[in-house]
């Protein structure tokens, strides 16, 4: 078991910088999830922790030891790859034992570890099959089993569920959560599925273009994002953003005029420095935070494009005659299905204000 810390880790491929100084503390036994859009450097960061890519600058510490120049096998890590990376010409049993056999591990011990992993993952019946004779979910289990036999201190997962269908993904997600609880080891998990991130993580690290945008517990990121990117990335359906300008600022309250919602005005108290009058800002509202007409601080009227009724909730896609398409979550709207216009309210405490650079104004 081990804590992991990254100190100003930089990765360059040739002259191109891909990770620009990432710092992060992962506590012993913690489940940390890296999320971010495609190409933001999640895999690269994980591969650096694994030792598969060398580190251009900075320091990686695993279990109190700087591992910059330590071989992958000696870092006490095991990695599960997106493609499973099972050796196609070996049976499940050989796949699980390959690493141990190659390192001259004691036969009886190898046997014991392999059957323990098989028990944990319930793949004992599959031991003599080849990977191509397995379903996607079974392959995934074998890949995880291959990590377990190593008795690692840190598990690294690179989008392990992205090749599975939706149902299996949920099932394996639960399985991984169970595994974390059972083994109690540190896990670092890469995904761009934010449901996986929200449900699995003790701590989420949001990455964008090689920078860490924010680190925090899932609900903290959801409730209190530091910037527009994190606000938009965490949560599904994503947060609505409406362009506006500041028309008044006095005594810790700004008044924002929304550009595309019929010039609706919203007074929002802020704790920090106030933006100047005339400054362009973005107002963020989560779909579930639109209230009934007249029950909030400001009303907007929108034209309904489509309504999706999921049973318990409905998502209404609407706009105010041009401008941003808004997603509005309603619990009662199955009765409003035929409406083509609706009025909803905004409540200042349930909105987020961002400056033109995307930084949160609190």
């Amino acid at each position: 078991m081990a804590a992991v810390s990254l100190n100003n880790v930089v990765k360059k491929f040739g002259t191109m910088s891909v990770v620009h100084g990432a710092s992060l503390e992962v506590a012993d036994g913690e489940f940390v999830v890296f999320v971010g859009p495609s190409g933001c450097g999640k895999s690269t960061l994980l591969r650096m922790i694994a030792g598969l890519e060398d580190i251009s600058a900075g320091e990686i510490v695993i279990g109190g030891r700087v591992v910059n120049d330590v071989e992958p096998a000696e870092r006490g890590i095991a990695m599960v790859f997106q493609s499973y990376a099972l050796y196609p010409h070996m049976t499940v049993e050989q796949n699980l034992s390959f690493g141990l056999r190659m390192n001259g591990n004691d036969k009886a011990d190898t046997q014991r570890r392999v059957s323990r992993a098989a028990d944990i993952l319930r793949i004992s019946e599959l031991m003599h099959r080849r990977p191509r004779q397995l379903s996607g979910g079974q392959r995934q289990r074998v890949a995880i089993g291959r990590a377990i036999v190593r008795n690692p201190q840190v598990f690294l997962f690179d989008e392990p569920l992205s090749n599975l269908d939706a149902e299996l993904r949920v099932q394996m997600r639960v399985e991984i959560a169970r595994l974390h609880k059972e083994l109690g080891v540190t896990m670092i998990y890469v995904t761009h599925d934010q449901t996986e991130a929200m449900t699995l993580a003790d701590k989420i690290v949001v990455l964008r273009a090689g920078n860490i945008e924010q680190i925090g517990r899932p609900l903290d990121l959801y409730d209190d994002p530091n910037n527009q990117f994190v606000a938009g990335f965490v949560g599904s359906p994503r947060m609505n953003f409406m362009a506006g300008t500041v028309v008044e600022n006095s005594s810790s309250v700004v008044t924002v005029k929304l550009a595309n919602q019929g010039g609706a005005l919203l007074r929002k108290p802020l704790g920090g420095p106030l933006p100047a009058i005339g400054a362009a800002v973005v107002l963020g509202v989560r779909p579930e935070h639109f209230g009934l007409a007249g029950r909030g601080d400001s009303d907007i009227t929108v034209k309904v494009d489509v309504a999706e009724h999921l049973g318990s909730t409905s998502y209404v896609y609407a706009n105010a005659g041009g401008g941003e398409e808004l997603v509005i979550e309603r619990e009662e709207s199955r009765h409003e299905a035929s409406l083509d216009r609706m009025t909803v309210s905004l409540r200042a405490t349930h909105t987020y204000l961002f400056d033109s650079a995307g930084l949160r104004l609190r």
Binding site: A50, L52, F81, Y87, M102, N103, R146
Partner: protein
């Protein structure tokens, strides 16, 4: 459904009808080679065209053996081809592996050089190579000179490099994380997965060595060191050409290769077209 299958059958018949004459044209010289090998010494020059085999094969073979020591020459050929194939496959796959899997300084230059050697015709290389091996190193009339100088095969290296680069590299990374040494990753993961390619390459290299004429002719002048094709060639004398012997030898050299090719055809085709469809 039925009309489709009958249309398909018709297309199959048409295809075979077109291919059949081509196959005949291709097989005819082989058949004549066999026929000539069974005729008496002068039979090849008879006025009628003889299309059916006669009974002189053993006599022709005895003549061939006493003129050239054909059995010894064939033994050398087999030995050389086997050693050559094994060593060349080992070298080319290792070179291909390192070019596919590792980043190192000067990799671009190495690749460009290998590609560059492809543009050199063999006949430009063979004389300097002969001078170097025979005169400078004094290695003529040795098995070493037969096997080693032609070992490097740039096409093979590029073929193996391509094969290894097409493999998902996460497989090798997975083994690296497990602490498997690089040479074992090559040996136990890379090579087994490259089996169709290795099989195809082996066949090509074996044939290449088996059929090689110019280099063994140049480098080995002693009759005791002749390979089979060179031994056959030696039958074409200034005053006398032993056609019966030549044809018999040609049959003896061709037949095993034909059998081999037909037996391994599946590997061969699979290896060549591997990676063509993803």
């Amino acid at each position: 459904m039925r009309s489709k299958s009958s249309a398909e059958r018709r297309r199959g018949i048409a295809l075979h009808a077109a291919l059949f004459p081509l196959a005949l044209i291709w097989l005819f010289p082989l058949w004549m080679m066999f026929v000539f090998s069974t005729l008496p010494e002068n039979g090849i020059f008879s006025r009628d065209i003889i299309l059916t085999p006669s009974d002189q094969f053993v006599e022709n073979f005895n003549l061939l053996e006493s003129d050239t020591g054909f059995i010894r020459a064939t033994t050398i050929s087999i030995l050389v081809a086997a050693a050559y194939t094994f060593l060349s496959v080992a070298l080319t796959s290792m070179a291909g592996w390192s070019l596919a899997c590792y980043r190192f300084a000067g990799k671009g230059v190495v690749l460009a050089t290998i590609l560059g050697t492809l543009t050199l015709p063999y006949f430009v290389v063979v004389i300097p190579q002969f001078i170097m091996v025979a005169r400078d190193f004094g290695l003529h009339n040795t098995l070493f000179a037969l096997i080693v100088p032609p070992l490097f095969n740039s096409l093979g290296v590029l073929f193996m490099r391509q094969t290894f680069s097409m493999m998902p590299h996460e497989l090798f990374d997975a083994a690296r994380v497990e602490g498997v040494k690089e040479w074992r990753i090559f040996l136990f993961i890379g090579l087994p997965l490259a089996r169709p390619a290795v099989a195809a390459l082996s066949i090509i290299l074996f044939l290449h060595s088996w059929n090689n004429y110019l280099w063994p002719l140049l480098i080995n002048s002693k009759p005791a060191m002749m390979t089979a094709p060179v031994a056959l060639g030696s039958l074409i004398g200034l005053t006398k050409v032993s056609w019966g012997g030549i044809m018999t030898g040609a049959v003896m050299l061709t037949a095993p290769m034909l059998v081999l090719f037909v037996a391994l055809q599946r590997h061969f085709v699979a290896g060549i077209s591997a990676g063509a469809v993803k």
